[in-house]
């Protein structure tokens, strides 16, 4: 089931109308929802950003879906990173200030897993973006062109069912 969902997100993102940059930005941003524990204020803010900024929403969901298992698997690493940062004497002043200003504590930055996973995401966001952009561009240049020439594909895109679906969802094959 998870695999089907992943496949569906993958096809949806790769073939959406967005540019490779938009899809890649979506994937990079979506990764934060999978990597960091979901129920935190920063995720609410970033989710708002994902809606407001013109980046690929299927890309966001693809990034989210791909990052969820990774997040669970890497929790011990996030915990270690977060604990090291929260215990660093040099950063104690920063954490103390943040802990005592309004709203910020609702991000739960003072939890080792939340902070560790968020920091790891911040470090990875640009590599994810560039890798995803390159991957989408390559897919569209080589794989999609080859797929489009297949008879089955042409028959499918010519069908009335596809037109109806495309008009409803904005999704294309």
């Amino acid at each position: 089931m998870l695999f089907l969902k992943l496949l569906q997100q993958l096809v949806k993102a790769l073939n959406s109308d967005g540019t490779p940059g938009q899809v890649a930005a979506g994937v990079a941003l979506g990764a934060v929802f999978g990597l960091t524990p979901l129920m935190n204020l920063h995720n609410l803010v970033l989710f708002g950003c994902a809606l407001i900024f013109n980046l690929s929403l299927p890309g966001v969901f693809l990034g989210w879906t791909l990052a969820v298992p990774l997040g669970f698997a890497l929790d011990p690493l996030f915990d270690a990173v977060g604990t090291a940062l929260l215990q660093a004497p040099a950063l104690r002043g920063l954490w103390t200030t943040l802990y005592n200003v309004p709203v910020v504590p609702f991000t739960n930055f003072n939890n080792s897993v939340v902070l560790g996973s968020f920091v790891v995401w911040v470090v990875l966001v640009l590599p994810i973006f560039f890798l995803a952009r390159r991957g989408v561009a390559k897919y569209r240049e080589h794989v999609y062109e080859r797929l489009r020439k297949m008879r089955f594909f042409q028959a499918l895109t010519a069908s009335g069912w596809y037109s109806t679906y495309k008009s409803l969802t904005g999704w294309k094959l």
Partner: protein, 616 residues
């Protein structure tokens, strides 16, 4: 390409609206569940809350129907509150902190019955927050470990089996063996050091020089010869002084070590007294010490009253952080790893939880001493006292009594603002109706009637000192059960003891019972005293002193015979040190002093005995 997706504003607005709607509908429920879960984790038993209502913009929170189970009695609530009205700081809420400027408490009642058990499932109850053993079970363990003496006269009038006193159980033997071994080792090491510091070569060389110089003087040696002789004497004197300094240092060291051993050997007599007491217990000779008898009579009742005080002190310790250093606790439970949540308190800011001022009325139910209506006041209740900077204080005064006059006052202070926590609680109850106490022997029940109760507890760091004192001058005595059997009962039998205790106490009108705890907070010692104990001890002494002396003599003889060899060996080792290395050191010092005097005399002879003349 457009940067913003304006058409998403409406869905986003709808999403925000949904969040607000969820908040409005569920925040009260979330608060209720949070208080129940947090309270349950803190107390170690169920905490129930009927409803919670938050008015965010008015900064008020109203809790209704709060019931906190007594972890030691799951069918009883520690307290129950009809309504708690918090006046909250909204700005503090934005910092995820709970700061109540004032709290009005209505309908607080203690020790109310529960309809369902408030005990936690065994798995949850086994550990307290933080993974350590629960505070209640820790205090229970301590109370079970407190050894209270009993009055057992079963051994009287019978042949005493002194063979039950085993040499392996006597502490003195272990100590004496250790001391003998230490004496051996000390003798060996000192012997080696004394041999290494042997001054004989220096002494012999000095004596040879003295002999060589004979009656020589400036006239017989000439100036050059006298100068050489004086130089030789000075060199030898330096060697003599060096040897003497080494011996003095060694002597100081050796004397210190031998003195330490001497003190330990002297302590064997105290250990022997402990072993006598142990042996007395082994052969069941009753103690006639009034304190032991008071502890046997009132110990369980006193312990029952001391345990809650200790429990609350330890609970406060667990939940009140000291200092302003970052604190750590386990993260929230979730599908993902919980991690660790850190708190970063800051001086002169709000602590995570604070009730600045609370006032209310409460009732204590029933018809006991404490029953009645009270007015209570509390200030500075916080989880981070160092951040808040003021101690927690509380005061409760009776405003209307069910029984007895209105003179009950309880006051206290928990000062955890510094590195060393200081707590104090006092309670004074005067002219109150006191409960009856079963003595446990003599089928006697002591009705204290009207009297006074003073409770005081002071804690400073890890040290605790507390007292529970009950006084009454109108005591009545009630005897139940068979009273006729006592007269004909054999010496030492239970019926005989019952009769004796009854005769000793039944005419007493003034009674004073004092229980005190002192020592470390983790494991304080308990002391119980009472004039009832003295009275019973006197009666027992008159009745059975001859028998007790006879048996005690046998037990002491048995202990002495078991200890004789080991203690003798330890004392022998000490004597050997005195006559061995220490004497040797003193003799060597004497020889060095002797040759030094001779050398000085020779030196004076060379200079004609005139002070101030120094040969070139």
């Amino acid at each position: 390409m457009k940067i913003f997706r304006w058409k998403a504003v409406i869905p986003l607005g709808l999403f925000v609206l949904l969040v607000v709607l969820f908040w409005t509908l569920y925040v009260d429920r979330l608060i209720r569940l949070g208080i129940e879960a947090g309270g349950t984790a803190a107390v170690g038993a169920k905490v129930d809350l009927r409803s919670a209502r938050l008015h965010l913009f008015q900064g008020s929170l109203v809790l209704r129907g709060l019931a906190v189970t007594n972890p030691r009695e799951p069918m009883t609530n520690l307290f129950e509150v009809d309504e708690l009205n918090f006046d909250l700081s909204v700005r503090a809420l934005l910092e995820k902190k709970f700061v109540a400027e004032t709290v009005a408490v209505r309908g607080l009642r203690f020790n109310t019955a529960r309809t369902t058990s408030g005990a936690l499932p065994p798995k949850k109850a086994a550990t307290a927050p933080g993974g350590g053993p629960s505070v209640a079970s820790g205090v229970d363990d301590w109370s079970h470990k407190v050894k209270l003496p009993t009055i057992d006269l079963g051994g009287l009038g019978k042949a005493v089996n002194v063979a039950r006193v085993s040499p392996d159980s006597l502490h003195t033997i272990v100590l004496a063996r250790g001391l003998a071994a230490r004496g051996d080792s000390l003798q060996g090491s000192l012997g080696r050091r004394v041999a290494a510091a042997d001054p004989r070569p220096v002494v012999d060389s000095a004596r040879a020089l003295v002999a060589r110089l004979g009656n020589a003087n400036l006239r017989t040696l000439g100036i050059a010869g006298a100068r050489d002789a004086a130089n030789a004497i000075r060199t030898t004197l330096t060697a003599v002084k060096g040897a003497r300094d080494r011996l003095t240092s060694l002597q100081h060291d050796a004397t210190a070590q031998v003195d330490s051993l001497r003190q330990q050997v002297a302590a064997l007599d105290r250990a022997r007294a402990d072993d006598y007491a142990y042996a007395r217990r082994m052969v069941q000779i009753p103690s006639l010490d009034p304190k032991d008898i008071a502890a046997a009579l009132f110990g369980p009742a006193a312990l029952q009253r001391l345990v809650p005080t200790l429990l609350w002190t330890r609970l406060a310790d667990r939940h009140l952080a000291t200092g302003t250093a970052p604190q750590q606790k386990a993260g929230p439970k979730r599908a993902r790893m919980a991690g660790t949540t850190f708190a970063f308190p800051k001086l002169h800011r709000w602590p995570t939880f604070l009730v600045e001022f609370a006032e209310g009325s409460f009732d204590l139910g029933g018809r006991t001493t404490m029953a009645g209506a009270y007015l209570g006041r509390l200030t500075g209740a916080t989880t981070e006292p160092a951040v808040y900077g003021k101690p927690l204080t509380f005061l409760a005064r009776r405003s209307g009594a069910v029984a007895g006059p209105e003179s009950i006052a309880v006051a206290g202070s928990l000062d955890h603002t510094g590195a060393v926590p200081r707590d104090s609680v006092t309670a004074d109850l005067a002219g109150v109706r006191l409960p009856a106490v079963d003595l446990g022997i003599g089928n006697a029940r002591m009705d204290l009637r009207t009297g006074t109760v003073d409770v005081a507890l002071a804690r400073n760091g890890d040290a605790v000192r507390g007292r529970w004192l009950v006084r009454s001058d109108s005591v009545g005595w009630i005897r139940s059960g068979d009273t006729a059997a006592a007269a004909a009962a054999p010496l030492g039998s239970s019926a005989w003891l019952d009769g004796l205790v009854w005769r000793a106490v039944s005419s007493m009108r003034n009674v004073e019972v004092e229980a005190s705890i002192s020592g470390s907070l983790a494991s304080p010692s308990v002391d119980v005293s009472s004039n009832v104990g003295g009275q019973v001890a006197n009666a027992l002494r008159q009745a059975i002193s001859a028998e007790v002396s006879r048996v005690e003599g046998q037990v002491k003889a048995r202990v002495d015979s078991l200890l004789a060899q080991q203690v003798g060996a330890a004392r022998g080792k000490l004597a050997a040190l005195d006559t061995g290395p220490l004497k040797s050191l003193t003799d060597d010092q004497g020889q060095l002093n002797d040759v030094e005097a001779q050398l000085q005399q020779k030196l004076r002879g060379l200079t004609g005995g005139l002070p101030g003349i120094r040969l070139p």
